[in-house]
Every structure is written in structure tokens, then in C-alpha cells.
């Protein structure tokens, strides 16, 4: 149990990268990217977690009762929302590209063509 969370984080990042490297569709690739991102959330929240402690919100229980680390939660919280807008940006680029090239296969898309 002591290392499970870290292993899961490493696993998620690893398979996300594997998915990107083998992807044949840009929308799929963007989904894999979000798996990599969720790895960092698992890592950060795991770092702040404390056994037998409540959430860092002292509404139901008074200040002073054990609570988990609020700092990592604050970092993750904003990052999730911003991450969604970045995903939107990527999807917008992919969509425009599909209009121009008619394909979304990363293995057929490259910025410059070699001269023959």
C-alpha cells in the first residue's frame, strides 16, 4: 500500500506516453495526453494524503482536527480547469487540420514536405 499510489502514477504516465507514440488518430492522442496529465494529479494528491485525516475544510469538524494537505489540492484544482481549456485548444487545432488535410492520422501529418 505504501508505494501503490506512486506506482499507479508512474503507470498512468507510462501508458499515456505509449498511447501517444503508437497513436493513429489525433483525437485519440489528445485523450492519451489527458491520461498523462491525470498521472500528475494522482501523484500530487497522493503526496498530500494523510491516513485518518479529514478534508481540509473545517465546516463539520473544528479547526485543529487532522486534515490532509490543502496546498497540493489547490495546485491540482486549478490545473484541472486549465487543463480542460488546453485540451480545447488542442482539439481546435486538430479540427482545423482535419479541414485542411482531410486526415487526422499523426503518421501522415508533418509540417514541411521533403523536396524530391
Amino acid at each position: 500500500m505504501n508505494i501503490l499510489a506512486w506506482c499507479v502514477a508512474a503507470w498512468l504516465f507510462g501508458i499515456g506516453v505509449y498511447g501517444i507514440v503508437t497513436s493513429r488518430h489525433y483525437v485519440h492522442l489528445i485523450g492519451c495526453l489527458s491520461v498523462c496529465q491525470s498521472a500528475t494529479y494522482v501523484l500530487l494528491l497522493g503526496i498530500g494524503f494523510r491516513w485518518h485525516a479529514g478534508p481540509p475544510i473545517f465546516y463539520d469538524h473544528p479547526p485543529g482536527t487532522p486534515a490532509v494537505d490543502p496546498v497540493v489540492q489547490a495546485l491540482v484544482l486549478t490545473d484541472i480547469v486549465v487543463g480542460a481549456t488546453v485540451t480545447a485548444l488542442l482539439l481546435a487545432i486538430a479540427l482545423q487540420m482535419q479541414k485542411r488535410r482531410g486526415t487526422l492520422d499523426p503518421q501522415h501529418l508533418r509540417p514541411f514536405r521533403q523536396q524530391k
Partner: protein, 81 residues
């Protein structure tokens, strides 16, 4: 409580794998939804209700929606070509 955290960690590892292995982007949207749901449950179990709320709004609603709209628009473009 500890079994719940462990089980959810395992589930989130599986959900991530599912997202990667769903090569058809249309199916991947469902996998993404499931992944968002599992993650938000995990965050809830990790005593992070704030993060869980934002993950459930983003991960299970907004992001899959954007993916769906993108795929729909892409399908329309392809039909027009």
C-alpha cells in the same frame, strides 16, 4: 477506508489503460467519461472534495463533450469533402 483508496487507485490504473487502448476515438469518449468518474471518486477518497468536484465537472462532462463535438464536426467535414 484504506481498502477503498487502494481499490480506487487500481481502478484508475485500469481506466487509464482503457482510454489508451480504445483506439477508436468515438469509443474513447466513453472511456474518458469512465476515467473522469473513477478519478473523481479517487480524489474524493483522498479527502479532496474540491478537486473531486472540479474533476467530475471537467472530466465527465466538459472534456468528453468537447471531444464529441470535435468528432461530430470532423465527421461533417469528411462528409462534405
Amino acid at each position: 477506508m484504506s481498502w477503498a483508496v487502494g481499490a480506487l487507485l487500481g481502478l484508475s490504473a485500469l481506466a487509464g489503460l482503457l482510454v489508451v487502448l480504445s483506439r477508436d476515438p468515438r469509443r474513447q469518449v466513453y472511456a474518458l467519461c469512465a476515467n473522469g468518474l473513477v478519478l473523481s471518486l479517487l480524489f474524493f477518497a483522498l479527502q479532496a472534495p474540491d478537486v473531486a468536484l472540479s474533476e467530475i465537472a471537467i472530466g465527465t462532462v466538459v472534456t468528453p463533450l468537447l471531444f464529441l463535438v470535435t468528432l461530430a464536426a470532423a465527421a461533417m467535414n469528411r462528409a462534405r469533402r
